[in-house]
Symmetry: C2
Subunit: 106 residues, 2 copies
DNA sequence: TTTACATGCAACCAGTCAGTTGCAAATATA
DNA sequence: TATATTTGCAACTGACTGGTTGCATGTAAA
């Protein structure tokens, strides 16, 4: 079973859960009230998020609080970094074009 | 059929294809030589990438060149931006802790 | 014109996924 | 202690996915 960050954030419900608990840690029950799916379905999403370490848990009596492990998101950020270079070089090319146009004008 | 950028980059083969054509535009056949799957499978991935506008095509005779539409990746970047703020505030909290420790030391 | 090549599309298949219901375990409360 | 609450886990289901093979279409070359 494949279980990486990219697959985890592919599901829109999971992305919504991530945004929710990014603000403050929440229990599965509390999270489920924000969606039209059963608590068990939310729990399954939380398990997936936990398995790929995007989320950590903290037990408090019979309640379990789920909170975001923000650093794990850096993996996606790291992958995107490769393209950031590309965008910058594209912008640099555009700069070159503008510079050439300017030069020819003078 | 759901078809967004997050779902598109969830598949490791598609991420590899994206990295390949980020360097230079390529034909499906050329791309397929880099993988252990059939050309048709690659074509299906390319169709998904095209449908969510991560990739654009340019016909040249009987060949079709696929090239990356880098700007579409900004959507993922935009989503991550929300968490970047979070990381920064976490670092700020850490700064506060360090500052307090320093103050108490004096 | 005939042949070879590049590609997309359709049908099929096994595995995965997101959701459901039902149930057992652990903790809080009466 | 008996009851209610919170949770995780297992079994099931319909839909989707990534892969395959086969075929039709369009373009280049012989």
């Amino acid at each position: 079973m494949r279980r990486d960050v990219f697959q985890a954030i592919a599901d829109p419900t999971r992305r919504a859960i991530i945004l929710l608990i990014a603000i403050k840690a929440m229990t599965p029950n509390a999270i489920a009230t924000h969606f039209d799916i059963t608590r068990q379905a939310v729990s399954k999403h939380l398990r997936i998020l936990t398995e790929c370490e995007l989320v950590k848990t903290e037990q408090s009596g019979r309640e379990i609080f789920y909170e975001l492990n923000g650093t794990k998101m850096l993996e996606v950020d790291k992958w995107l970094a490769a393209f950031r270079k590309l965008w910058e070089s594209r912008f640099n090319e555009l700069d070159q074009v503008l510079l050439t146009m300017k030069k020819n004008k003078q």
